[in-house]
Amino acid sequence: MSNLSIALVGNPNCGKTALFNQLTGGRQKVANYAGVTVERKEGSFRAPSGRRVQVLDLPGAYSLNATSPDEAITRDVCMGLLDDVSPELLVCVVDATNLRLHLRFVLELRQLGRPMVVALNMSDAAKRRGIRIDRERLQSELGCPVVDTIAIRKGGAAELITRLDADGPFETPAAAPVDDLHGEVARILREAVDVPRRTAAVDDALDRVLLHPVAGLLILAVTMFLMFQAVYAWATPFADGIDAGIGLLADGVARFMPDGLLKSLVTDGLLAGIGGVVVFLPQILILFLFILILEESGYLPRAAFLLDRLMVGAGLTGRSFIPLLSSFACAIPGIMAARTIQDPRDRLATILVAPLMTCSARLPVYALLIGAFIPSQSVGGLFNLQGVVLFVLYVAGILSALVVAYVMKMLSRDTAEHALLLELPSYRVPSPRDIALGLWERGGIFIRRVGTIILSLTIILWLLSTFPAPPAGATGPAIDYSLAGRIGHWMEPIFAPIGFNWQICIALIPGLAAREVAVSALATVYSISAADDLAAQQLTPLISSQWSIATALSLLAWYVFAPQCLSTLAVIRRETNSWKTVGLATGYLFGLAYLASLLVYQIARLWL
């Protein structure tokens, strides 16, 4: 039998992606549509007859009258405007418990005259709620085949697959144009559907608590607190395991490879650089586990609802909440999560301030400097001064993000109104398969990034700090003679006003690859050859005796703002498709970093 290509189309929250997972399982790939950052999810499966069915999961849309890049893609594919994407059959997925809204889109699509099948999804939930649907009647009213699906149950797509396996050609004559689509939906519902109650009782009960002005905010705060605890606590054993594994690998390589440049490239360059980033994989996966569960359950839009007013005041939107939350682990998944914000201005503002959230890669730097310079004394008999400084650094990040977003809103002279219009879907129990596939997808993106961008940067930085080699009989550390070392000396006059010596300047260069690299780079510069942890321990007395406290505070302020993370800049480039945005982010973050360090250094020099 010939192959078939289909596209799943439907309103947001119709269970389309769950149906896509049900049909294609693990055989799916995620890319972007040409020229836009709209996710293009494709997969395939083999029907019983042996026919291969290609499945495209289109972004959710309320209407063909598109209001976001996502909806524009769906419109273009449905109307056959994209040359490289032309599915033979549209499978229009509707939530059987939400027909009042979803059938309107079906009627709109029917007017296109494309071959179409309607999948009545969540038919089990509809039955439980006592919603009775006369399928024969619905089929004749819509003028196209209607099948039942339960996307979250094994075998729940059997009826749809049988339908797709039938002999084509699939034809659906265009429906006559209707002016009042909503009126038509209301008429069809009266004829074919019996609904005892408009909402699910459980949704009403949950919303009464979760959206309560006091209880709702409290539950949100506790949920977020537990999530952060889990990200740090649960990830530690896995991260330690990865660390130990890479350490063993490096030891093995060190034993079997002859000394020389190649060995240095593999151990100091590749293993140290890649290992330093892969270590964050457990944190990222745990964070995404929480986000996916919250998303699948329907809670995330509720959090956006509770916080919208606060975020709007700062020039963001309630939808910015999740991307910014993710950025506390790492700005990269945070910036990727900004895809869920439809409004382009809100999305850009969110992406630009995401690097200000204190990501986990800043912790090693903060820990080193606080340990070396801030005395461990109690404040007001209750708090530890070191802990207070760490807290202040977190708060500084959050406050500056709000201020930056506010200033951007003021400067943009954009007076257009930006809508919220956010659907709060029914609560659902998350399906383990959909969560697992989501984690697999996110983990894959992260690993690919490590394998491409970070790998090449690591090699470049290793080259810079290794060549040219020191002349024979040189006494100073090798890095002093390398290109990176010379750049460090050139940079010193620029950074003198903020109190950085040439050693710090050198460390900032490899530290561009990832923030925590600065710690090991400083150790190298101070020519201590030891493992990372040990180096940090010996580094502490060294820098505390050589640096002034003003320099240390200035470096802390630098790290609150400076985009010492090329991967973040690379992901901004990929997500916005614009070098201008990357330039803007780099410029303002370095500018703020320099300004903050200058203020801190000059004030601290006078007062401390």
Binding site: S63, L101, L211, F305, R309, L420
Partner: protein, 84 residues
Amino acid sequence: MKLSDLRVGDSGVVEAVDTQADPDPIATRLGELGFVSGEPVRLVARGPLGGDPLLIQVGFTRFALRRAEAERVQLVNGAGASDE
């Protein structure tokens, strides 16, 4: 009376959606989401800060609308009721 004037728990019936500009994509979208003449609506909840945004039940669906969006929706006078 406007949709934004409802009290939490109160219901009303949509009379029309005002267009505040030409074209007004927000008004168009409100219509597509089901805010059309004769449709019953209910204010389910308000946001914790300043009573904004508003959570509106329309058809079988709940939408969060900011006040400026809800102000576009005119309700039939006198058709309100304190519960469904």
